[in-house]
Subunit: 271 residues, 2 copies
């Protein structure tokens, strides 16, 4: 059973956790919220990341293994009612488990230190759901790290964490560097920097045939609505567009990223 | 200027359009709602699809070309206030243009009549946003048609239409056949039927190398949470999984579909 029961939404501990829905408080505390059993399992797999666990009686019963592991690791577990969970969780139908986690991001230097082969850069991604989905896709495609520049959404935004489906805990994530400092670091790490943009002069198929994608590559993805700004398009090694074979005007950001990252992953394994 | 002004949310015409947010009324009337300038432009490009257009004064001013084209085609245009538009539109920030359109779906026979090379089947897709994103991706990848089986969401659901970003007007969409009747029709049309499922015995890379994807192919996509039921996995020619190179447990449905459809599109063009 949970060590302690918190029955009021006015409990200081509940309030402190609730505040982490806001970026300013996340930054101040260096903590964020991760909801649901999958996220809790991934957070538990990392040393010293999970700080506190809130669980409803029902969730505690359903996920006894997770609660037991948390308690064994000395992590405070608080049992809360449905009302407190509703106050804490940012979803319409909370899953009954909510973790307060320490920030897991790493420095740009450390992310690029060990000869990365595939790096994903979110340069102007503003929608947290899209950003989280790209993070999950980058993880699936075997990306060595994911970089959120300062013009992108916060990687610890609740929607981003949820859409990442645990991937925020899987691979090194870099938070908030300026794009201007990212580009030289990528190049110095031996990566060819390729931006995905509907206005790209060469198509993904052409880049693939030319052998561009077989080597270490950093993919740069831009804004959902307007793509990437001129200064980024000018600074990268190549701008590539996903070919549109049918009548659609464009692809959405997360699906375009999936096509690009998997094309690279396959080319690297075939090469 | 719009031919007539509708100032009340209680106007019978507004009520009739508002009702189309519900599937039962869409079916009865054979009509659906499409919101925003992009959808209106695509609907106008088809003969006899756009039945009525609602526009706020601001949208009418911003999209004079579209309103003029509608009026020239004899389509009734109604000017409405922000309150009426808010009542009609299903979005938080309505774009000020809303079209009532006739159903555009075609029969299974007609969709498969002219030697299709790439067909997309949504077999158990329940989330309308995902379904619309897959429709858009299928269009971009050059799919000849998209089939929504009776176990999938309604293709005319407002969220699905929006997520399709106009693609519902671009390619033949088949609505509501049973999967049992779809399979023999696909095979009779000369298509290899491939299901995408995390439990697939061969990976996408293996299927690609084996040459499976170079010929006419129908891709079957399942439910976001639990994939495809046993009877579908047993009935298709092959079950293929998108390889997971990193730590992610899975991909979301729309990104997995993007990887599969683009892999087929490229293989068919290379072959």
């Amino acid at each position: 059973m949970a060590g302690r029961e918190l029955s009021s939404t006015r409990s200081p501990r509940v309030k402190a956790a609730r505040r982490l829905a806001k970026r300013a408080f996340r930054r101040r505390d260096g903590r964020f919220l991760a909801e649901g059993p999958q996220a809790v399992r991934e957070a538990l797999a990392l040393d010293g990341v999970l700080c506190e666990l809130f669980a409803t009686a029902e969730a505690e019963n359903r996920h006894q293994d997770l609660v037991a592991r948390a308690e064994k690791s000395g992590i405070p577990v608080f049992r809360v009612g449905a009302d407190v969970m509703a106050e804490l969780a940012q979803t319409v139908t909370p899953q009954g488990l909510l973790a307060v986690c320490r920030f897991v991001d790493v420095s740009l230097e450390s992310a690029l230190a060990s000869s990365p082969r595939l790096v994903t850069v979110l340069a102007h991604v503003r929608d947290p759901g899209n950003a989280g989905t790209v993070l999950r896709t980058a993880d699936a495609a075997g990306s060595d790290s994911v970089i959120f520049t300062d013009a992108s959404v916060d990687s610890y935004n609740g929607k981003c964490v949820r859409a990442s489906a645990g991937s925020i805990f899987h691979l090194p994530v870099v938070m908030g560097p300026r794009f201007g400092e990212v580009i030289p670091a990528l190049k110095a790490a031996g990566l060819t920097v390729v931006a995905a943009d509907g206005a790209g002069e060469s198509s993904l198929d052409t880049a693939l045939e030319a052998g561009t994608l077989g080597g270490p590559t950093a993919w740069v993805f831009g804004n959902e609505a307007w793509g990437l700004p001129e200064e980024i398009l000018a600074a990268v090694d190549e701008v590539v567009r996903v070919p549109i074979y049918g009548g659609a005007e464009s692809l959405n950001l997360a699906t375009a990223a999936a096509v690009c990252l998997y094309t690279s992953a396959r080319a690297q394994r075939a090469g």
